[in-house]
Amino acid sequence: MNRHEKAAVGAVALMLLAAGAIFLYAPTDYLQGPVQRIFYLHVSSAIAAYGCFAVVLIGGIVYLRNESLAADRFARAGALVGVVLTTVTLVMGSLWAKKVWGAYWVWDARLTSTLVLWIIYAGYLTVRRLAEPGRQAARFAAVVGIFGFIDVPVVHFSVTWWNTQHPGAVIINDALPPEMLATFFFTMFCTLVLAGVMIAIRYRIETLLDERHGVTEPARVVAARGAEAGAEPVP
């Protein structure tokens, strides 16, 4: 087993442990019943998705500054994993909402901005596929990733300003009993580990894809090492 396979097995084992905690350790919510158990993974995957998109943002900024191929690969990996986790968040959230609010979807700030987030990073992946691979795709995608990240709080703010219905931060005000809180933090930890492992594996895949497509360190970086500085152009 190589490094990545070991990490994958570890992450899956952690997620199974988290599932055990969610279903066996955490008490049943007396108001909402068993459906409340969605909460643990729903919120954890939302937080992990934000983490992934932060990777996309930082990767994009670093790429635009120095064209580091590694930063771009991290951004690519982060976007893909982030979109998967956002999908999980949205699907679990709407199942929960159906039970609790009576509808799969309501147009509230958090739901709307999460949906926008999903659309933007799905667009990011589309740009990557359609732009000429290499420098152009990386630059365009970096711009989309940065605008997407900035747009989410803006959308969130504008929809909040419009109207809102989603519960706020339930974790901060000690509304949760300690068993629930412990389960939540453990699930969040496991989800973050899983996200990290998925990004690492995807990073490796992107590296191999780059090698196959002949994408190497960009010419400018190579040239910078050999060029003599300060030469004046011939008039």
């Binding site: 000429e132 691979p133 290499g134 420098r135 196959r212 497509h213 002949g214 994408v215 190497t216 360190e217 960009p218 010419a219 400018r220 190579v222 040239a223 910078a224 050999g226 060029a227 003599e228 030469a231 004046e232 152009p233 011939v234 008039p235």
Partner: protein, 214 residues
């Protein structure tokens, strides 16, 4: 003194290798032709040399400067005539040039001078889409020399220029360092003492006064 030094220029379009490890050194004032079949990589090489395209790998120095780091400074020294004329169809010949005078930051009166050079003065107020293909090509050449570049890159400029293409090009090339991509061996021989032959993205080497490469 070498004005252009290219080292291992390589370019991939996606999974397709368009140019592989092309080296090239050009002295100031030298004229060089690039010959090759369609798809041999002529346009890719020219676009990279003119800093219009970033190569996937390799390095390029123009006038002693790193071509891709100092691109904006170098733009004053470069002129590039692409295969497509790239004119604004609804603007007149003169307006097309005047617009580029603004972008090049040169006086608009240069437009009239250049129209004279490329022999389009009688057509100055004709819309670009009413000019013949050859005249459009001349206009595109005129646009590339508005700012008196020291280095000129021509991508098949002779394609539709007509019978006096050689004379026009010879006049413009005088006193400049030029790389000219063409199909026309006779024209290459007449205008350029040196020739680079490309095949499948690779350089088959340069030769002075090429006989005939079949």
């Amino acid at each position: 003194m070498s004005i252009l030094v290219a080292d291992g220029l390589t370019h991939w379009f996606g999974r397709e290798l368009a140019l592989e490890g092309v080296d090239l050194v050009l002295d100031t004032g030298e004229h060089m032709a690039v010959l090759g079949d369609n798809g041999a990589g002529k346009t890719t090489l020219l676009r990279i040399l003119a800093t219009a395209l970033h190569p996937t790998a390799g390095r390029l120095q123009l006038a002693g400067l790193d071509a891709f780091r100092e691109r904006r400074r170098l733009r004053h020294y470069l002129g590039y005539v692409a295969h497509a004329p790239g004119l604004y169809p609804a603007l007149t010949a003169a307006e097309n040039l005047e617009f580029f005078c603004d972008l090049q930051d040169v006086n608009r009166s240069r437009a009239a001078e250049v129209l004279e050079t490329v022999g389009l003065t009688p057509f100055a107020s004709k819309r670009a889409d009413q000019l013949s293909r050859g005249m459009q090509q001349r206009l595109a050449i005129g646009r590339a020399i508005l700012h008196e570049p020291k280095l000129l890159f021509f991508d098949e400029p002779d394609a539709s220029l007509g019978a006096d293409a050689g004379d026009l090009l010879a006049g413009i090339m005088q006193g400049r360092t030029v790389v000219l991509a063409t199909h026309d061996h006779a024209l290459a021989n007449r205008l350029c003492p040196r020739t680079l032959v490309l095949r499948h993205g690779r350089s088959l080497g340069t030769a002075t006064h090429l006989r005939v490469v079949k």
